[in-house]
């Protein structure tokens, strides 16, 4: 299978603390990959580097696009280096990304994410949340909007329809006109997924989607994740603590501990891996059973 996302040598330091140390893994197109590890292992930090919220200290993140590969670190805007001044093309690119780059470009490249602590636009309605997510797909021309041209109205209707489609899939259709902040917690989590989907991603990154859900909701969530892959052709990268969910949906598991990858492979293989057991159960490596 072709890799959609390649992470190589990803290192992230906060002051003296190394949250990530040369992390590397790939996500194949059309797969469901789980990123697991104990609390504080650096999973969310991987997401933040991936989606451009943190500027990685070192390493490369490459996304295969329809038109070739894209360097997700460069588009955040990097500091200029001395060597850039010898190469006008690199210099121009760097200057451009320094001024206009940022995490929003990562989403435009086709990566969408959810957050560990739900981040909704609480005082806006569910539908408005989804419309904001489609910002790049609607008619943004100011004049067209002010005059209400047919093109503008068509684009708005299409956006509402697309939002409704996703709400239907996530079972939130009846809540379309409620305030996002008023929804029950489980619905908020699903709304956040729907919102990420509305950006039209190729890679969907979910940060602990099952946290705080009851077993029945978790069950429904795993069905949903599987359906997103089979019916909507999405590639999914998932952080999760709930092992039954991970075992059920994922094709590939990457285990992080203290900022380092300690194992990767199929769920079965990883489950047997002694280092993983040690990391999770906190046993001495030699003294383990």
């Amino acid at each position: 299978m072709t890799p959609l996302l390649t992470v190589e040598g990803l290192t992230m330091r906060f002051g003296g603390i190394a949250a990530l140390e040369r992390v590397g893994f790939t996500v194949s197109a059309g797969s469901i990959t789980a990123l697991i590890g104990p609390n504080g292992a650096g999973k969310t930090t991987v997401f933040n580097c991936l989606t451009g919220f943190y500027q990685a200290t070192a390493g490369a993140i490459t996304l295969q696009g329809p038109t070739g590969s894209l360097d997700l670190v460069a588009i955040l805007g990097q500091p200029l280096r001395g060597s850039d001044f010898l190469d006008p093309v690199t210099l121009a690119r760097r200057l451009f990304y320094k001024m206009f780059g940022g995490s929003h470009r990562v989403t435009r490249a086709g990566v969408a994410r959810t957050f560990q602590n739900v981040r909704l636009f609480k005082e806006m309605t569910v539908m408005e949340n989804l419309l904001v997510a489609q910002h790049l797909r609607v008619e943004r021309n100011l004049l067209a909007g002010l005059l209400g041209t047919p093109g503008y109205r068509r684009a708005e209707q299409a956006a509402v329809a697309r939002g409704l489609d996703w709400l239907q899939i996530l079972g939130l259709r009846d809540a379309a006109n409620r305030l996002a902040g008023e929804l029950p917690y489980g619905d908020q989590r699903r709304l956040e997924i729907a919102r990420a989907l509305c950006t039209g991603p190729r890679l969907l990154c979910l940060d602990e989607p099952a946290a705080g859900l009851n077993p029945r909701e978790t069950e429904a969530l795993s069905d949903l994740i599987l359906r997103l892959r089979t019916q909507h052709g999405l590639t999914i990268l998932l952080i999760e603590h709930d092992m039954s969910l991970v075992m059920r949906v994922s094709d590939h598991v990457v285990v992080l501990d203290h900022g380092e990858v300690i194992a990767r492979g199929t769920p079965q293989a990883v489950r047997q891996d002694p280092r993983v057991l040690t990391a999770y159960l906190g046993m001495e490596e030699e003294g383990g059973p």
Binding site: F14, T44, N48, F53, Y54, F115
Partner: protein
């Protein structure tokens, strides 16, 4: 360029800087503990200038003769009453807003500064007020081509500013109150779990910051002799600039930022242009915030996602 003029401007700048530093402490402590810019702090300083004049007049009217005693009592009374103002403002206008939107404390603070300004204007009248000259005399230092004058008041200002900063630093590092402050600053929830009454600590920080502004008020009044109900605004922003320049949240930073700003401003007005000295100070503020928001001694913030 004459050396003695530079020297004279440096002395003036140092004095100005100590004042800014004393006020900046209030901004920095409050920001450190609840992450809020206490916009009304400049007005507290303005109130303290009035209190200074009032207590001086009152003590003199009681027939106290010894100048050091009068000044010392004025300082204590002004600090106490300014602290009371700081405490009250926190209690009435900021505490109920905890957990509200980010804009709410700002707007409340702007409201409070309008209230304080006009409260003083209505009670005390809009005209300039002042105190008589109490300390005369100056030291003269020979510099290359002229003399640099340092008045006795200026010496008093530097000494008092240093002493009060020292006391404050001691409080923050060696008393249980200071420990609680620092703990609350690091992690309020955790401190509360350990039994720290964070509400009381925050109120105390406001009171301490206000008391330092009170010191500044006394010193400024001694130095310049006159004030009006409007002095809090510009001085407040400049003191805030000093706090940012030094790295907001850091006590030594506030003092350092004050001195740097005071020197810069006074050298600018001495050698470039007096009319634009405020523009210069505000420009420093804008540039520092754009290029080095963490200031000279502060640590850069990483936003948590």
């Amino acid at each position: 360029m004459d050396l003695h003029i530079i020297g004279q401007q440096a002395v003036n700048g140092l004095i100005l800087g100590s004042i800014y530093g004393l006020i900046a402490v209030g901004y920095t402590m409050v920001y450190g503990i609840i992450g809020m810019i206490n916009f009304a702090h400049g007005e507290i300083y303005m109130v303290s200038a009035y209190l200074t004049a009032i207590f001086l007049a009152l003590l003199t009217a009681f027939g106290l003769q010894s100048l050091p005693v009068v000044l010392f009592l004025t300082l204590l009374l002004t600090m106490a009453f300014t602290a009371l103002y700081g405490w009250t403002v926190e209690r009435l206008a900021y505490r109920p807003l905890r957990g509200s939107t980010r804009l709410a404390p700002w707007i409340s603070a702007i409201g409070i500064s309008l209230v304080l300004q006009n409260y003083v204007r209505i009670s005390q009248g809009a005209r300039n007020q002042g105190i008589p000259v109490l300390l005369e005399g100056k030291f003269r230092l020979q510099a290359a081509a002229g003399t640099v004058q340092i008045t006795h008041v200026q010496v008093v200002i530097v000494l008092v500013a240093l002493a009060s900063m020292a006391v404050l630093t001691w409080i923050m590092h060696h008393t249980s109150l200071g420990r609680c402050c620092r703990a609350t600053q690091q992690d309020r929830r955790m401190a509360e779990l350990l039994g720290v009454d964070s509400g009381r600590i925050i109120a105390t920080v406001f009171a301490l910051g206000a008391a330092m502004a009170g010191v500044a008020g006394v010193l400024v009044t001694l130095n310049y002799g006159s004030f009006d109900f409007y002095i809090g605004f510009v001085t407040g922003i400049k003191a805030f600039t000093a706090a940012v320049l030094g790295g907001i949240g850091s006590l030594p930073g506030a003092m350092l930022g004050g001195v740097v700003l005071g020197l810069a401003e006074s050298l600018f007005s001495g050698f470039v242009n007096t009319d634009y000295k405020d523009v210069f100070a505000f420009a420093i503020l804008v540039l520092v915030l754009i290029w080095r928001p963490s200031g000279l001694l502060g640590r850069p913030e990483v936003e948590k996602v």
